[in-house]
């Protein structure tokens, strides 16, 4: 059975070219980048090269990139270390209701530590409206953090406009771009963000590495305490092979982005329309057009997400859901609820996220089996007859 992986927003395979670039750094060029000897210096050069590759993808300069262990760390560091390093700034913070937990929970942590937190609502399509942000700004607002695109429903935010509002109000602007780096063109200058978080494993790089962009002049601090790595901003022995892989993934993304974007947009469009047209009582979640290329998120009434996933898996189709109740909680995700979806509908969510290796045949296959799966499950459901 051909495996049809459609869960690229969860994670991506490492590109073979990326992996090839990493190989030498495990057993041969394994030096510690802080060591003075040849092996150390070679590792240092590899880290420097990766830094310039990451910087180039983001439109940043090399000194503005801090390598981290992933998107969670990058977001945590941006938010928490910025505030602890700028105690003179106000104590009001703004974020949105559909952020990833790596952002939301960092803010909730700060709220418990005495910061005042505003969580902005979103439209039914998942948009944070600049006017809503404007109305929420206070003289004491120190930091605004709005994600570039949402991982569950794919909605892309008007970051440039939002950053402008934050800046007009005297606040610093951070964006969680974990879902967009490598998928959408990014230029930190043009978007005018002060900080931006990225995670390697979402763009065909290895897991366990990511980066934080910090605009020159923005005083973030270290989140870890320890050695002087990353100019003191990220203590801990550098994950050299991981960083090399991330750098290479950035390089490849930079080259392939326009073509991939067009292709995934088109394929995603067909998948979306095919599903909505062939399955009654189904609806798209997120924005109809402002969405991540190749990201299709839908809700089916009368059925539950995990059941859909396991049925799809039996056909070799791998997807995810915002409502698979594995965590012991019966609540659908905070994102689906923030969009105003009723619980019973949010329970039937399915997310299919296409990637570079998916083919039109993969889309055909999903469109062939999904309607039957939904019909089957509905046949068991007491909610429909």
């Amino acid at each position: 059975m051909r495996e049809i992986y459609m869960d690229h927003s969860a994670t991506t395979p490492v590109d073979p070219e990326v992996f090839n670039a990493m190989i030498p750094y495990y057993t041969d060029r394994f030096g510690n980048a802080s060591s003075i000897h040849t092996k150390g210096q070679r590792a240092r050069q590899a880290v420097d090269q990766a830094r310039s590759q990451a910087a180039e993808l983001l439109g940043a300069s090399e000194r503005e990139i801090v390598f981290t262990s992933g998107g969670t760390e990058a977001n945590n560091q941006a938010i928490i270390s910025y505030l602890s390093n700028n105690p003179d700034k106000g104590r009001h913070l703004i974020t949105s209701a559909i952020e990833h937990h790596a952002v939301l929970d960092a803010f909730l942590h700060l709220a418990k530590r005495g910061y005042e937190l505003t969580v902005l609502p979103v439209t039914a399509d998942g948009l944070v409206e600049p006017d809503i942000l404007k109305a929420a700004m206070k003289p004491t607002t120190a930091l605004v953090s709005i994600m570039h695109a949402n991982n569950e429903v794919g909605t892309i935010q008007p970051i440039k406009e939002l950053a402008a509002v934050a800046h007009a109000g005297g606040a610093v602007f951070h964006t969680d771009a974990v879902q967009t780096v490598g998928k959408l063109p990014i230029d930190v200058e043009e978007m005018d963000v002060d900080m931006l978080a990225a995670s390697s494993h979402k763009l065909y790089g290895p897991k366990g590495v990511g980066c934080l962009y910090v605009k020159r002049g923005i005083r973030v601090g270290n989140y870890f305490h320890g050695g002087g790595q990353e100019r003191g901003l990220r203590p801990g022995t550098e994950n050299v092979p991981g960083i090399v892989g991330f750098g290479t993934a950035c390089k490849l993304a930079h080259i392939n982005l326009p073509e991939r974007q067009t292709r995934l947009n088109k394929m995603g469009q067909r998948l979306k329309e095919g599903i909505l047209n062939s399955i009654p009582h189904s609806r798209l979640t997120g924005h109809p057009v402002k969405r991540l290329p190749g990201s299709v998120s839908v809700c089916f009434e009368f059925v539950e997400g995990e059941s859909i996933l396991l049925m799809l898996d039996s056909y070799g189709i791998m997807a995810s859901s915002g409502s698979a109740c594995t965590s012991g909680s019966l609540d659908p995700s905070h994102v689906l609820l923030a969009l105003g979806l009723p619980h019973e509908i949010a329970h039937g969510s399915l997310r299919l996220t296409l990637g570079k290796d998916n083919t039109e045949e993969d889309v055909d296959k999903v469109l062939e089996v999904l309607p039957n799966i939904i019909q089957n499950l509905r046949g068991m459901s007491p909610l429909c007859n």
């Binding site: 009368f302 059925v303 539950e304 997400g305 995990e306 059941s307 396991l310 049925m311 039996s314 409502s323 698979a324 109740c325 594995t326 965590s327 012991g328 019966l330 609540d331 659908p332 009723p342 619980h343 019973e344 329970h347 046949g379 068991m380 459901s381 007491p382 909610l383």
Partner: protein
């Protein structure tokens, strides 16, 4: 995550559907919580001669529903009442800890159906 038995009952659920004119019906859970189980039973001479279910929920919810119907078919009401969430989970070779409340529902729906039948019987006696 799931045992083979759970996956088997999930992929090939037994006794799905509704019974026309059931002797008793039970429904537990609600759509807001993400799981509803409905069980119909047919009873003759104190024996559950037929049982069917409809379930909205995760794989564990569907598998436990299916399993409970298989466990009670042909059993006396007294035997059926002995079934607990624990015995359903055991019959499925266990459930992941976070899914234990699903098996809860299956046993609950069955007991609700039996109670419904008892109530109807009592009402009949009362009338006659």
């Amino acid at each position: 995550m799931y045992s083979q038995k759970v996956m088997n009952h999930f992929m090939n659920p037994r006794n799905v559907g509704r019974i026309d004119l059931p002797s008793g019906s039970g429904e537990v859970g609600n759509a807001v919580c993400g799981d509803i189980m409905h069980i119909d039973i047919k009873v003759a001479d104190n024996i559950i001669t037929d049982v069917k279910f409809k379930t909205f929920g995760c794989a564990a919810a569907i598998a436990t529903s299916s399993m409970v119907t298989e466990m009670v078919k042909g059993k006396s009401l007294q035997e059926a009442e002995q079934i607990t969430n624990q015995t359903v989970a055991e019959a499925l070779d266990g459930l992941p800890p976070v899914k234990m409340h699903c098996s809860n529902l299956a046993a609950d729906a069955l007991h609700a159906a039996i109670a419904d039948y008892m109530r109807k019987e009592a009402n009949k006696l009362g009338v006659s």
